[in-house]
Symmetry: C3
Subunit: 329 residues, 3 copies
């Protein structure tokens, strides 16, 4: 096991060893969560500030709970986007929370790069504050991809979830790839751990240029792009549906939700193209009957959605623990 990161901003340069460290640490925290008293004193007296410049209830709750279960104190900052308009001001807000004594910052912002900019500033100031990217624009959402990885690996080996289990697995990612930070982070983690990733979406949500991303990144033998659903589903081990922002339709990127569901919606029937043991994931919240059919979503055998949420708390505990200098191994 190995961990040398103060910040978790992107998965682009994560090593298999780092993935394994997160998976094993999360696994030990999952054990904590099965006890009646689901708490450890690890971060007692430490302060975790949730700086959510973009509103989010579920992700904020997940981080807040992870911090509380490590016995940290939490501060919640929820900005109305109107009150903060300039990049400098965001840095000043972060520096204010730093000066108050914050030990770790969990940051969500609608613009890509803000968590990185804050982390750079913390490093420049030479303070030991960890920054965790909880979603920045259309860039990355690393904790989501790590909880997806943990969910998948735990399914294959609940005792020893490890990244090598992904080797040769086929994962389909379906939906609004273009605007999805979840997709980007998952592409990094899944290809790095040996899976093959098949993207499927209408061309407006998966432009030709996206293929260049694969080539540039030396991912071209592990990342495949399709504008129809079927080739991505055939023999897939895992199908990951992405949340569809309804706003996309008003900007003419989508015809209608009904048509989208007809072409790219995941249903029980369509899953017959996949491996018999296929599982479905979704980062939530789900538009029932759009990305996934309603009955499939509630299927306790096929759907991993609920496990993803549970994994989220354990994985975020692991990340805060590791960033906070927790001993590894």
């Amino acid at each position: 096991m190995s961990w040398n990161r103060r910040h978790v901003l992107s998965l682009a340069d994560f090593s298999p060893l780092e993935y394994d460290t997160v998976l094993q640490t999360a696994s030990s925290f999952r054990e904590v969560l099965t006890r009646r008293t689901k708490k450890v004193p690890t971060l007692q007296g430490q302060v975790v500030a949730n700086l959510f410049f973009e509103p989010s209830t579920r992700t904020r709750s997940s981080f807040e709970l992870a911090a509380k279960r490590l016995s940290a104190d939490t501060l919640n900052f929820a900005a109305s986007t109107s009150s903060i308009t300039k990049g400098e001001t965001i840095l000043d807000t972060a520096k204010t929370y730093l000066a108050m004594g914050t030990d770790m910052m969990v940051i969500r912002h609608k613009e890509a790069g803000v968590p990185q900019a804050i982390a750079d500033e913390m490093d420049r100031l030479n303070v030991k504050v960890g920054v965790l990217n909880a979603g920045d624009g259309q860039h990355e959402h690393p904790s989501q991809a790590l909880l997806d990885l943990f969910t998948i690996c735990s399914l294959m080996d609940v005792e020893k979830p490890r990244s090598s289990l992904l080797k040769g697995k086929k994962v389909a990612i379906v939906g609004d790839i273009l605007h999805s930070r979840v997709a980007r982070s998952n592409i990094w983690s899944l290809t790095a751990t040996g899976a093959e990733v098949y993207l499927a979406a209408p061309p407006t949500l998966l432009p030709k240029e996206f293929a260049d991303f694969a080539k540039d990144s030396d991912l071209d033998r592990k990342l495949f792009i399709h504008w129809t659903l079927e080739p991505a589903l055939i023999d897939a081990d895992f199908v990951m549906a992405l949340r569809l922002q309804k706003e996309r339709m008003t900007s003419h990127l989508l015809p209608s939700l009904r048509e989208y569901h007809q072409q790219f919606g995941i249903t029980r029937d369509r899953l017959k193209l996949c491996k018999p043991e296929v599982k479905v994931l979704h980062p939530g919240p789900v538009n029932r009957g759009v990305e996934i059919s309603s009955d499939l979503m509630d299927d306790p055998v096929l759907s991993l959605i609920s496990q993803q949420v549970t994994s989220g708390v354990a994985v975020r505990m692991a990340l805060l623990y590791l960033m906070g200098g927790g001993k590894v191994g």
Copy 2:
């Protein structure tokens, strides 16, 4: 003492034994609240999620404080009503908090039946999560009626508040009965414990059909309906004024606040019709000079409003304790 409920959704089927269990448990927690360190470790490591789909500061604070004094961790979810529109999505939100590891959910929603639907889903999933109705539409608000009961019974016997003390007492409930979940829950608790309940309101806020509710429920000998104030007040032991939603006037159910106060406002003078020891209750927040005259509201002898708020924390501690499987007796 006796307790077999996982959820507290309605008082319609509460037994006198259950009322007594709540009263006695609340009584022991009231003792805790008089200490300097007003905390017990009962729910340490447990998570209480306050899912308030309808905004409320005071009720949410009361539940939050009750949970914290039992040493639980709390999560607050405050939905803008706009973001959540469909029943299924509410269930999905609840299931997300379930998957995060929530042990108890306190739910408020503007539509009747939502807490019941969530409780049903939890039972269907066979998870040991308790659901507490913190107000659903015009249906019920059981913790409010229980704190009213605790306030009244404690007044009569502070050492041993018990439901039998209500036997033969006359309680007037005055105001917007039609739209009041507080009234509905109080009708159940007060009649079940032996009190006689006299409702008084203008016909627009207490329609003829409401009398059928009494007959259907076999309450016809304990529940009386009046369209003027005086008969309800005569010889009353307790007068409960309900909050008037000012929105009612725009929908032509009320003439003006001044006229309402003239006909149904509780004043020191009008209380002369009641028993000499009469006390006044109000669930708050009060529109001063509308439901109750301002001087009466501040009268430390006649008004129980402040005691109601204090009772609220003890009663909610009791409910969370009992739902969480706390030992009875």
Copy 3:
């Protein structure tokens, strides 16, 4: 050392002994904040309610953190100004939090006098609840002035910050004096501890009548008023810039931000008029390039802005501790 206050509402009648008590108590809490576990059990089981009728993220976070580090439970009340319109209702809200069992109330309101009115009501009710003014209209913001004092005195003697260090120091306060509660509280604390205070602002933001305030208050030999920047800066030991509300311009009190910066903006160049060891303070948040030039703001030698934020937590811990009856000395 000496402390007899239940409430902290204004600095107008603070004695040098009281300032020293706050400074020394804050100093001992600053030591706590350097430990890995930055927490003390002082207020365990006590409830601190933050009643912010005017929104504020940074001040509320600072008080919340101070309370949590004293192991208190916190309740946050954030009012949309629309829902509460009448003075009585604010008292009723405070009384509701009192009845829930709140031990201390931290109150911010856009109207001057609200914290005082709530404190008066608590005293009238003869309850042992402390009220702390976290900013009321254009009246006072005592904890801000106390943290400024602590920051300055700690700079001069980190081991023993004491008010006598201010004797004979020249402090310039620059900006929107007229509308600033921070300026008013600082005028009291700085003159009481022996400093000379030079106010500098355009006449629209520092009207002639303000000089009467000085005379009335017997401050006329310690408080000086200037409508240009230079005389205030000459030989100053400390320069305190105030936040400029951009709304002032729409009401024609200010020409433009650019012109304001040209005439009253604090820059590295202008600081050459001051003592060589001069330091710059600002209560935050700063409009970069308006009140202070951006490079000066980030200068770790000249700017005390970050130390002010850090001092804020220690000073607020000290105030809550002292108000809560913590032993002095």
